[in-house]
């Protein structure tokens, strides 16, 4: 490109300043589009986090409800099989209390007297603490900050 060509271009811009303005407008629009994209992304992540948070609240309430119903049913079952109820049912069915003379004892090889062991109902697994992944409670800026920190740690 020689000097003549450069002068020609400069002259062309001087006679058409709207080109420079268009460049500025283009740059500004680009910035606006970038901002809108970032805002959209941020809004999306935030709304997803909010939905997940709400789901967690609902699930927690459902777990509590389930445990409550389970406890109710367990107590109800215990009432239906209480000693007095079972005794009455046995009598109604024609059974009678056993006497020691009624018992017959047999040797059963390998049999051991039962001992109280862990009760399955009493040792039901407890609900472990909920562990929410960081994606659900960190903001976009937190995420960027974390990434920068991670990469800087990686370089060190």
């Amino acid at each position: 490109m020689n000097i003549q060509n450069v002068n020609h271009l400069v002259h062309a811009y001087k006679v058409a300043p709207w080109r420079i303005q268009r460049q500025w407008i283009g740059a500004a629009l680009l910035a606006v589009v970038a901002l809108v994209m970032v805002a959209t992304l941020y809004l999306d992540v935030t709304s997803q986090a909010a939905i997940a948070g709400r789901e967690i609240q609902v699930l927690t309430a459902q777990i509590a409800e389930g445990q409550r119903i389970s406890a109710d049913l367990q107590t109800q079952l215990a009432s239906l099989t209480s000693a007095s109820v079972m005794e009455q049912r046995a009598l109604d069915l024609g059974f009678r209390p056993m006497k020691s003379s009624d018992a017959e004892y047999l040797v059963v090889p390998g049999y051991y007297e039962p001992k109280p062991e862990i009760l399955s109902s009493a040792s039901r697994p407890q609900l472990s603490a909920l562990t929410i992944p960081p994606e659900y409670n960190e903001s976009l800026l937190d995420w960027v900050d974390e990434k920068i920190a991670t990469s800087s740690r990686g370089r060190k």
Binding site: A50, A78, L119, I132
Partner: protein, 578 residues
């Protein structure tokens, strides 16, 4: 023209820039103003709230896995004062499901609430059936009672006892204030209740955060056998009717490890209606008499005197003495129960015939120092450490106490002038059944928390006598039970035991007509699996323990043998050979 256009454009741009700058400046000013800080603080306050999470109270099971105490849901029913329209309609609807309300009081609470109150509770701990009925009335919204707007429901847990009054004297109860009273519920209240957790909970779902795990209270597995407990309570109730006794107790323990298998009291209460406590019991000590009510046990204590005499070398089983029917101790004459003289007796005969003169002879021969040292080692006058609330220590006077007299050395030897609870005597006697070692009675077999089970080990409280003494005395007591005429026998099983008939002190003097009838026994003698204590208060049919408490022991022992699957002695010996 073009220049003019450019100038206008520049002017507009400057204006826009100025306006933008103004907006930015204003934004910064607002953001950094004191008002903004207050606004932000208020916003933060509404984003989260402090909540207290109460863990579910731990359950209580018997040793075979039957639920004795659990939790169920109950309704708190109230009125939201911000939106209530027709309080009278709400109370009418509540009355229709038998909420047991004081109408005037409830209406006054709604219409004239304390300042700043927005919610008034009209009924709490309402069972689910009634709560659901009332909720259905509200949901139907058919205007039958009027406008029920503002009627609100809140479900929460409450204690439930499916077995009602069974083992009530062991379990205890929990009040609406979440506090345990009596028995296991009081003794293990902190463990069962768990630790409430207060935490900041986000109300804004965008602020999802970890909800801290609130562990349930510890679940307890008792050593109690539900079926044996039910049998003991049935036998006790029948015995009180049969012998005309005012009250009574039957306690069953494994003498080898101290596990309490059953403790029956005559006065029991439906634990689901704990508010009736005051109308059932006059004193707190009546709740579980086996651990809370010391009494003069009488002749059952003779086994301890004989143990001390044998262990100290004062006598051997074959030692004889001449029973003249009376002995003078500390200026007072002590006589036998029948006022008679039994002639020459050895120590087995002494126990078999329950001779007071013999026991006073032994205690005076040992001397106060030796005798009381043994009684102290047996645990008389001390708490046993049983894991049930409300234990009483009883009283054993020692030489040097202001109210101890020399005659006490004689009377204490046969269980008068000394106060002990049934559980204390069982603990002391466990040394005889358990090769000389006393066991600490306990009612909790295991604790379960977060899926892990901790088994409570047997605890031995001491060795007041030697193994040889224990074995010798067990044999002597087995001879007593197997003697002709003893109503404590169970066919096929060799049991050891001793009756007791004690006079009752009333206002400083002994009642001439009423007695406390007792029996302590265990078996099978060669490998004791159970120890049973029977106490009948003021039986009318007969004042003698041998005629009242002894047959009750036999009946209870037979039932225990069945429920614990203990084969007769000859079968067990065959098993042992094979």
């Amino acid at each position: 023209m073009r220049q003019q256009y450019a100038r206008r454009t520049q002017l507009v741009m400057v204006l826009i820039s100025l306006i933008s700058l103004g907006i930015i400046v204003q934004m910064v000013r607002i953001q950094t103003s004191p008002a903004a800080a207050i606004l932000k603080q208020r916003g933060d306050e509404f984003q989260t709230e402090w909540r207290t999470f109460f863990p579910d109270r731990g359950e209580i099971y018997d040793r075979t896995g039957h639920l004795l105490a659990g939790n169920k849901s109950a309704y708190e029913i109230g009125v939201n004062l911000n939106i209530v329209q027709d309080p009278e309609a709400i109370l009418a609807a509540a009355a229709s499901v038998d909420l047991d309300l004081d109408y005037a009081e409830a209406l006054d609470a709604i219409q004239n609430p304390p300042e700043n109150r927005t919610f008034v509770v009209i009924a709490d701990y309402v069972d689910q059936e009634k709560g659901l009925k009332l909720q259905a009335l509200k949901d139907a919204d058919d205007g039958r009672f009027g406008d029920l707007t503002g009627l609100e429901f809140n479900l929460h847990p409450m204690r439930s006892y499916p077995e009602k009054d069974l083992a009530s004297n062991i379990i205890g109860f929990v009040s609406h204030g979440r506090r345990g009273y009596f028995g296991i519920e009081e003794k293990y209240d902190i463990l069962l209740a768990g630790a409430p957790v207060q935490m900041l909970v986000p109300v804004d779902p965008n602020l999802a955060s970890d909800i801290e795990h609130v562990p349930d209270g510890t679940t307890l597995i008792l050593t109690i056998n539900r079926d044996l407990q039910a049998a003991a309570e049935d036998i006790l109730d029948e015995s009180l009717d049969k012998y005309g006794a005012q009250n009574g107790t039957i306690a069953i323990m494994d003498p080898q490890n101290g596990e309490l298998l059953a403790i029956a009291s005559h006065e029991r209460m439906d634990l689901n209606e704990f508010w009736n406590y005051g109308s059932i019991y006059d004193n707190a000590s009546d709740y579980s008499r086996a651990i809370s009510t010391p009494y003069e046990p009488g002749s059952v204590l003779k086994i301890l005197t004989m143990a001390a005499a044998l262990d100290s070398g004062t006598v051997t089983p074959g030692t004889t003495y001449l029973d003249t029917g009376s002995i003078m101790v500390g200026g007072a004459v002590i006589r036998n129960w029948d006022q008679g003289a039994w002639g020459v007796q050895d120590m087995t005969g002494c126990l078999q015939h329950s001779l007071n003169v013999c026991m006073a002879t032994l205690s005076t021969s040992m001397g106060a120092g030796t005798f009381y040292n043994y009684m102290d080692k047996f645990g008389l006058g001390h708490l046993t450490g049983v894991d049930l609330a409300g234990e009483a220590a009883g009283r054993l006077k020692f030489p040097g106490d202001t109210d101890w007299y020399l005659v006490d050395l004689g009377t204490n030897s046969f269980g008068q002038g000394v106060a002990a609870t049934p559980i204390q005597i069982m603990m002391a006697a466990s040394a005889i059944a358990n090769d000389g070692r006393t066991v600490t009675p306990h009612a909790v077999y295991a604790m379960v928390r977060d899926g892990r089970q901790y088994n409570v080990p047997a605890q031995f409280a001491g060795s007041p006598i030697s193994e040889q003494t224990a074995d010798t005395l067990s044999e002597m007591l087995a001879v007593s039970v197997s003697s002709e005429g003893s109503l404590a026998q169970v066919p096929g099983y060799r049991l050891a035991g001793k009756t007791g008939t004690a006079q009752i002190p009333v206002n400083g003097f002994y009642d001439d007509e009423a007695t406390n009838a007792s029996f302590i026994g265990w078996g099978p003698v060669d490998d004791p699996k159970f120890m049973i204590y029977v106490w009948l208060e003021r039986p009318e049919v007969s004042t003698w323990g041998s005629e009242t408490a002894a047959p009750v022991f036999a009946e209870m022992a037979e039932k225990t043998i069945i429920l614990l699957d203990i084969p007769p002695d000859n079968i067990r010996q065959q098993f042992a050979v094979k």
